[in-house]
């Protein structure tokens, strides 16, 4: 099949970027999108150019490493599908396909389509855990978890941390990501104990990292490959306000 790619290239965080065009021979509908990019790179390298940089690893939709904006949509046209799971059969012969990095203030470009998402890790490190030492654990079945709570915790915890929610948000907010982590832990009895402090720390870390504020357009939910519900954002906001109220005049520890 014949596709023309317009791909964003940018040497580093402070360089100007530009689109380059490639219309490679030999694309097949059974190729994954990243295999098509491999293919573009192969022809670039053989003709003496450097490769276009992009992040990827598992290529099966679970590690969250890949992610580009394809024709204006984070991870491309299919719902609930990461970039690596998208295949060329989703495009038509003759299409022009524009490929850009996940853009956000908190995601500086490293090079081309590769961005630095370590801001998400720093949010998770701000209390996104249960403070238990390894082995300091009671017998597993002494903590009973209602099935629906386990299910809800799992659904929230299925976030792969790709950052598509941020990239698809006009304010580049990380509320879906953070809301999901908070919901995962606060659904479970083990995680509830520290919830108040956790919610305050994580929300404030988000602000510190330069993520924007959520205006409830739910574009994030539409882009999320794991279909995480935007309800979790409302829940986070509720918990945050409540935590702030509770802590008025008191230090949270």
């Amino acid at each position: 099949m014949k596709i023309t790619f317009r791909i964003w290239m940018q040497d580093g965080p402070n360089s100007a970027g530009e689109f380059v065009e490639h219309a490679p021979e030999g694309l097949a509908p059974d190729m994954s999108f990243l295999e098509a990019l491999d293919h573009v790179n192969e022809s670039r390298i053989l003709s003496g150019q450097r490769a276009i940089e992009f992040d990827h690893d598992c290529r099966e939709g679970i590690c969250g490493t890949c992610g580009v904006v394809i024709n204006g949509r984070a991870h491309g046209p299919l719902a609930a599908t990461t970039t690596c799971q998208l295949h060329m059969r989703s495009f038509s012969d003759g299409d022009l396909v524009t490929v850009e990095p996940f853009r956000a203030r908190a995601f500086p470009v490293i090079r081309d389509l590769k961005v630095d998402r370590s801001s998400l890790d720093r949010v998770a490190r701000s209390g996104g855990y249960v403070s238990t030492n390894i082995r300091a654990a009671p017998e597993a079945n002494s903590i009973l978890v209602p099935r629906h709570a386990a299910r809800a915790a799992f659904d929230a915890a299925s976030c792969i941390g790709c950052g598509a929610c941020v990239a698809s948000c006009k304010n580049a907010a990380a509320s879906l990501y953070t809301g999901a982590k908070l919901a995962h832990l606060s659904e479970l009895p083990q995680g509830k104990i520290e919830n108040t402090l956790r919610v305050v720390r994580m929300v404030e870390a988000m602000d510190r990292e330069g993520f924007g504020s959520c205006t409830n357009t739910e574009a994030c939910e539409a882009a999320c490959p794991q279909e995480i519900s935007a309800h979790l954002i409302a829940r986070m906001n509720r918990q945050y306000n409540w935590a702030r109220l509770k802590s008025l005049g008191r230090k949270l520890t």
Binding site: R59, Y129, R147
Partner: protein, 638 residues
Amino acid sequence: MALPDAKIPDGPIERKWSYYQAHCKLVNAANRSRFQIAVIGTGLAGGGAAAALGELGYSVKAFSFHDSPRRAHSVAAQGGVNAAKNYQNDGDNVWRMFYDAVKGGDFRSREANVYRMAELSVDLIDTCVAQGVPFAREYGGVLANRSFGGVQVERTFYAQGQTGQQLLLGTIAALNRQIDAGRVEMFSRHELLDIVVVDGRAAGVVVRDMVTGEIEAHAAHAVVLATGGYAKIYYLSTLAMGSNATAIWKAHKRGALLANPSFVQVHPTSLPPLGVHQSKLTLMSESLRNDGRIWVPAQAGDPRHPNEIPESERDYYLERRYPAFGNLTPRDIASRAAKERIDAGHGVGPLANAVYLDFRDAIRNHGEDVIRSRYGNLFGMYQKITGLDAYREPMKIAPAAHFSMGGLWVDYELMSSITGLYALGECNFADHGANRLGANSLLQACIDGYFILPSTIGNYLATRLHEPLPDTDHPAFRDATQEAEESVNKLLAVGGSRCVDHFHRELGAILTDRCGISRSGAGLRSAIEDVRRLRREFQQDVKVPGGPREPNSELDKALRVQDYLELGELMCRDALERDESCGMHFREEHQTGDGEAVRNDQSFAHVAAWEHVEGGEAVRHQEQLAFEFVEIATRDYR
């Protein structure tokens, strides 16, 4: 060099670990922060170790080539994690789990290690639940289990089809807590390029910052490798694109023995390559074999659509050959049987490289809704990748390289043959023998990191209390840094005519064909020649664009493939010297009349531990395996 002692504690098998723990040396809590430990890899094994060491108060530097520790390939495990909790009251216990793993490994693993793995499985589930891992639950709120991979009890804990990701998120949460507390310093996007050894002890590492290209030396009192599996050497595998053998290979070249490198498991239910562009294979969970029936057309090259092939012209070859286990035969047997049919011309799909996994009968018997509720996500994944609807026609599946049982040789303390260098998780060889049982490797990675290393490393460090941190100005550090620098520059300077992937693909094809599911003396000998030739061609004709001091994924790949090209040869030699069939290692010369593997316990009940010889041929050492507690038996699934 003589093979070091495996340091297996005396006494009855169920007391060995507690005996060890009661007698090993300890580092006083007040002294721990003086010790700097470098942990390479932050998957379940390394992330768990770094977190546990941080909790104990050690100073830890943790490195990962990923942009975030949460992306380690542990994330991809679908099926589950085993533990001998006996929550189902179905007669499970630690001994039974131990026995299943020794037998599953075809009597090529160390009893004491395997027993400890089963023993510690019980505590693992407690720790994971406390971290907030959302395992599946019953209506009453207790944990749920399922059965998995060739065992008769239900001991597998799971979190839908995402057990690996959920366990890893628990590990990373624990790691994050230590990073937050300042006890672990995390270096993401850093790839290990060498281990520094001073006076026979691990003294630090050389890593490359994959954003700036800067090569850095880091000193440590002990180095822990937890860099995962190397089955990506086959190019087409279920491993991630970045999975590599660089760390263990560099350790090997610095003196660490490499054990059973040819023991690689091939998973029977992956998706087949769809074309020459294929870069990676996706696993379809083994659980599909509970309801799907595997078959090929009885007539080779039958061009008909599978739905048009009548029952009488289908060959359900697993049910035919193994009536007792049928479609649930262990992985090695199922993979081999599929290859046998594909090689005989019965393969299906455009490339005639697959077999059918058919749900027609299951849908007829249980209804589509039941099948959807059991496997809906997998069918969805299948549809995404192939564009086909497995409710309407059989899936096409094929064997794919999946897990490396081989790895760095370690003793009972998980220390390699270099003093102070440890190997955890999939990158060591310790627990799975010649074939790994499903759901045992998440377990192994977790307990190595959470429970075993934090005890055993103290036994070493306690003797090093008065030793200062090695100096990175030491010539050993300067030499290793310079060598790393040179190897980068050399690759960039070749300026040949073929991309890195070209070489990786060809290496993969050689190994898949001759050092994969089935191996023969003649095939292995020719494979060794071919790998050597390919290595020479790589050195003369690879084309790596870009420069050394910038983000350069092609360079990252080239450094990995360079090591794979060396490891590939050793794998073939290992397979050649092991002149028997065992577990997944099937030597065509050693089979019964009806194609079953024939083990040779007389000559090969040992671990092959390879010593690197600079400029010469690697030397093979043998660690004899003593079976004191279980009786060696022949596996028979017919």
